[in-house]
Symmetry: C2
Subunit: 211 residues, 2 copies
Amino acid sequence: MLRIILFEDNKNYREALTDAFDLSDRVFLTKSFKHANNAVKEIKQYRPDVVLMDIEMPGISGLDALMKINEAYPETKVMIQTQFEDEHRLFVALCRGAWGYALKSDSFDKLEEAIVEVHQGGGYFSPAIAGKVRRLFMTEQFTKTPLYTPLTEREQEVLEHLAKALKYKDIAKAMFLSYEGVHSHIKNIYSKLHVSSRSEAILKAIEAKLI
Amino acid sequence: MLRIILFEDNKNYREALTDAFDLSDRVFLTKSFKHANNAVKEIKQYRPDVVLMDIEMPGISGLDALMKINEAYPETKVMIQTQFEDEHRLFVALCRGAWGYALKSDSFDKLEEAIVEVHQGGGYFSPAIAGKVRRLFMTEQFTKTPLYTPLTEREQEVLEHLAKALKYKDIAKAMFLSYEGVHSHIKNIYSKLHVSSRSEAILKAIEAKLI
DNA sequence: TATAGATTCACCAGTTCTGGGGATAAAACG
DNA sequence: CGTTTTATCCCCAGAACTGGTGAATCTATA
């Protein structure tokens, strides 16, 4: 019997999973937590075969917990389970060593199977996610780069204007560029920062003190 | 002869204005500065009739300088001159006591006339701006409110999700709302924060420590 | 109980942004 | 001197967002 622990803040969903795993003869849900603030300690205590980790939780996020767990117990297999499908979180999760990326919309059977796979050294990606993984591998050279490729001078300027919430048109005016010139720089910035929207770029830039 | 000083970081534009004012027999450009970091001190020294103030400058912004000048020398008439037409800056400028709001695309003659008007206790708004002023008065109740109307609990939640760069669809999932429900909250948030885009909302929320 | 505010949803018409092509010219580099 | 980066621009299609209007519930409060 395969032992797992669950980090999930949504009460309904947590209880639904608990009930479902009660009926499973392959996976035993040892314990579940509504936040991941003490995840590492709890991993130490319960030594699960697989960890099921939500992303959005009060306190530290599932992605941060993932990182800490992998630093402390790299042999522990963590599978992310979330409701969102954005590439940024996926990218971060992969970088931080997630063994799987399941969606809450997946059926319980799929989830159970995924857990077994992960335990056996395999991986699992929900179909919608799998496509994005491929795209990430095709379009991003993240294996050889640091957290992000450095921006060129001009890109940095554009980023600063982006972070003033100026419209493309106004950035163009301010930098004596065409709309398409701005657009082009922004596409490159997003690619380098592994984001896909202005808001993500701003948040990332603030976080990384790029601005 | 009416004495003005100019704060403007763009060298070309500054020199163009300098040359133009040299030929004017109504307005005398006493001095120009490429940033407004010591604006108050400089006002004290030169005691201009009117101050022409750019917004985007290295160091403190024209809008902040405007505020400081109005605190220290409320009788000094400051006219904003900028290339951007967004309502947010306009709103802030008005709140902080700008007497005019000119665009760099205005002709020099207009600018000169505007300066004279402002000196005589009038105001000046570039046509494109004037329409927005009206809209602000019609749609915003800013005269009686603090910097922004407090957000409701639910709006606050939406704002936090907004600031994670989640898509409307995903915010809806996370909050068990419909897309249109999210949309509705966001419209109210923007209105209360006097912004008109997600990026502005995030920046404002960070600034005001709402998140 | 009437009124106001908070919450939620719908429809619609734009506008803005995003991602995919591809292209050219200049600059940097080996 | 080629090759690679950088900077710039163009077109297109589709996704996402914004703003306006209107409306139904529910709750708290005068």
